[in-house]
Symmetry: C3
Subunit: 429 residues, 3 copies
């Protein structure tokens, strides 16, 4: 039991190394350059033009997603730690999966767009991770990473190459996909024993502040996320500008509705940590189109509102009626705003904002992203239900100490350490 996780991790890394040895090359290798008759200088110049945007996305993946999930009082190590683990695995696997589909039999040449897309492909898994946070083992997450990224790459290929739909900020292919994949997994792994909640499933004051580190870095760098793989020039420029203003507008409505839906008018940290980001998700599909800044702001405003309403009214219904428990509320941050983004894309294309896609193809892309995600998530969930992956017991959910050596809470907390710190029954890693 205790060797499954490390052996799986080592086995996967060995497999990655072998596959990279067989299929991956530098973009600048002489033989490739001659073969393609391309000059190297342009490629490398473009590499460093986009490198700052890549680094922004990189911060979002590792600090943004990682800290956003540290809001649980006893699950910070796992949130930020497993986030790092699956993103590190996912970026290697995503390089291969996306590369193979795009390279048409040639070797995969690593350029800056491969690296950005590799980071993107990890984002889907990190979103799905949010739905099952605290209820799943590191080993299960390794399995899920491998399956989900393969499915993601397939759907992304379908959307971009077959439907030739436009989805520059990936509202559909990353956000909606990751959310519905995660919800499907969460549905299959539903724990009736926790339907009344769990003592650990709450935040403490400082864990909510740690989560704000994640929120802010996601918020700040989202314009880079939506523009990183846009066509250079006007489209890239508009992707930045539209996302910047959509996010700003979204903050205002998220705060307003957070206050409105609470009966004493107080703000809820869950809304602020998440719904303020919905504008970045929802403007994604049409971020690079000439939709006018004020339209971005309308999209952002709607997203902030929808996201808060989702947290308040939909999440409880999902947990009780649909038997889908969504720990981080990814449906409200990524699912609903992703659908809003997909719909906005259909409307924008119908109004002529893009000359490469049609409303039907956009609709097909949205349906395909959700459909593939749900089917992929259900199958993944069934695989993860096999009783061999060390899934934590109901009692041990949302608790780092199942998988981590955990120190006491703070300096003079002797009793906590002695009485609770090391009392969990068996390690299930």
């Amino acid at each position: 039991m205790r060797f499954k996780f490390p052996l799986m991790a080592i086995g996967l890394e060995v497999a990655m190394i072998v596959l990279f040895g067989l299929f991956v090359q530098y973009e600048t290798d002489q033989n490739i350059r001659q073969q393609l008759r391309s000059s190297n200088s342009t490629d490398v110049d473009r590499f460093f033009e986009l490198y700052p945007l890549f680094q922004n996305v990189h911060v979002m993946i590792f600090v943004g997603f990682g800290f956003l999930m540290t809001f649980l009082k006893k699950y910070g190590f796992s949130s930020v730690g497993i986030n790092l683990l699956i993103a590190a695995l996912g970026l290697q696997w995503g390089t291969l999966m996306q590369g193979i589909l795009h390279s048409h039999g040639h070797k995969i040449r690593i350029g800056i767009k491969n690296m950005i897309n590799a980071d993107f492909s990890t984002a889907t898994v990190l979103i799905s991770f949010g739905a099952v946070l605290g209820k799943i083992s590191p080993l299960q997450m390794l399995i899920m990473t491998i399956i989900e990224i393969a499915v993601f790459a397939g759907n992304e290929h379908l959307v971009a190459e077959i439907f030739t739909a436009t989805d520059i900020g990936a509202s559909m292919t990353i956000h909606a996909f990751g959310a519905y994949f995660g919800l499907a997994v969460a549905g299959v792994l539903y724990r009736p024993g926790l339907r009344r909640g769990h003592d650990n499933e709450e935040s403490v004051y400082h864990s909510d502040l740690f989560a704000m580190i994640g929120t802010l870095f996601l918020w700040i760098f989202w314009p880079s996320f939506n523009s990183a793989i846009a066509e250079a020039g006007d489209k890239e420029y508009r992707a930045v500008v539209n996302t910047y203003f959509s996010l700003a507008a979204c903050v205002l409505t998220a705060y307003a509705f957070s206050s409105l839906v609470e009966h004493r008018g107080k703000l809820d940290m869950v809304h602020i940590q998440n719904a303020t980001l919905a504008g970045g998700v929802a403007v994604g599909t049409c971020a690079d189109m000439a939709i006018h800044p004020y339209v971005s702001m309308i999209i952002g405003s709607i997203a902030g509102m929808v996201s808060v309403l989702g947290f308040k009214f939909l999440t409880p219904v999902f947990a009780t009626k649909l038997r889908i428990h969504d720990t981080c509320g990814v449906h409200n941050l990524h699912g609903l705003p992703g659908v809003v983004g997909g719909l906005a894309g259909i409307v924008a294309v119908a109004l002529g904002a893009s000359d490469t896609s049609t409303p039907a193809m956009q609709a097909a892309a949205l349906a395909s992203s959700i459909g593939t995600a749900v089917v992929g998530g259900l199958i993944t969930g069934l695989i993860l239900r096999l009783p061999i992956w060390g899934q934590p017991s109901d009692q041990n959910c949302y608790d780092d100490s199942v998988f981590w050596e955990v120190p006491r809470w703070r300096e003079h907390d002797h009793h906590f350490h002695e009485h609770h710190g090391h009392n969990h029954l068996e390690p299930e890693l």
Copy 2:
């Protein structure tokens, strides 16, 4: 009462969307391009040249200012949360206010400099927010944001266009302005009931560490703040180099004087969090001039020293004698160093370091920035004193739980949650 804040936030956002629809366009719109006979490629190239500097400034505004103010033990949610709210509103409003003054009747074209300037204009409000931190409601901050950015844009236009003074890092127009505006508001809103302090007006160990996140990101990216709107080439280069060395020098004197002024020689976190940044403020006005690196270091050294001395000796006097209570000590981080920066600018111009301004114009810019700020702040303070904005009672100052759903402090703190967490009398949001 409980609907005032959300309705104001929604109303402001609707107003922003309408105003953007009327007055704002992309920089790359075909019709504008033809009208101005400008080629688009240069604009867009410059956009992505400056985009990394913009992103640095963006981190400063949202993470830097936000976390710098989390030092209070029970006011972290508000510090980082209201910071996000007012910056998101402020950047939309700042885009309009600064754009209208610069666009001479044409539509406002959103380029990278507009976005940098929009972020800058929020900085003034965030600085002023520091002076009234913990004593003001979110609703009051929305009002203050609207008024202060309008006044700021007016003064900035006066300084740059009428006086043609130079102030590239905005020592005068942002830092001194924001500080004195905030002090004027704080003076009008003075609370005699808190003249002996408040139990909540102190830090705890980890809140001081959260604040250091803000300090460090401000410190690291300050060279980008001072160079972001500098003329490309030598001036931009010098703005980076001068700021880099000024900040480094400032750290040494801030540490030295923090130890010197404490009777046992210990360091004070308040000084380290704030005074180490004074070098960035003070070198601002002459950051792009050829003043020599060693002169930047002298300016930084003086600023670090002045800032610590301000915290130690001036802030208590302000609170007791002048009846101006400055929560974050913005006078010491932004006010005094801003004035030092303005004076350094006068001297530098007198010595011939700039060929576009005169010492008299520099002095006029400094006087105008302080004067406008004080008058604007006094009027704003009077408006905010109207008993309709949900200002917290003395007893509820510096306490997140007035405006936020607040979780317990940490895992096994049952008594705290039960006895204190939800006992505040009325929500005043």
Copy 3:
């Protein structure tokens, strides 16, 4: 006693200002430009091409190293605060030391590479700081900064100019050097009284999360660290790609071995915080060579494994048998992986991956880096043992309250504040 630290800090800053006045100029000064017949535009263009990479390194130095060391429960102020202090001093001193060796009698012209190298030179001191963390006074760290950067600059000159060895990511000249320098100092300053450990030498839950902020920003920006001073074009490109994949591979083996070596299979935060970074260190020397991405991943995998094994088996032996107590385990993060990097460089050069160096010269560089570090560290240790630097007593180790005004731990901890907060005997700053 209590004036030694501030006076030393002021004295050093005054010295820096004088030396900068004598030896340092802008890169763009007219007289220099004419003298060198160089056009300014290229230099300034290159400045802003590399500026984003510089800023990434800057984040690593101040946030990365600073927060990585905040894992100790009562030493966070010192970790992040003294890190800032010595980095601010070190970058000024490093500019001078490295500049003098490279400028051949001319004035030092500040370009972007000087700033990157200045940041690099502080990294050596910050690494060594990790070995003595908690056992040394701020005054001692000022002395150590001055000595170590001088020795570092000498060794770096020897390696780069005399041996003409290649070490683009500085596995040898920064990481191995900094680690062995620090270990030598720690050996000389060994405290027999603490051979059974110290109550304060442990983390609490949230201090481990603060440390992860450091880990993640180091991890994210390491590709910039290894490529920042690489030759523009292919080499710079490869330095990014190799480091990106080495780090990703390293994470998998670090997690696997962390779980393997713990008897219940749990993960250890110390390993995750540190060993996940070893891949960045170990790929440093050959980062810019055409070694193939899969070889980078092999190097990273080995580094992650070696680093965890070092923490588990070597560090205890060092502390007990060799009487070298390494607080942060810098030997495992920087020492061993640095040696792995040096050895990988020898092999890579032997296999023809570089045309500018030979295996013998690479070996000489590795030997020189370790040898200089040990000798320099021993001498520095002897100087720091002089009983005039205010070194804390054994009992006061790992405790901020010796050098800092420390607030209570959290809101309702009245007893802690009253009984422990201000009870330390004498300030030893």
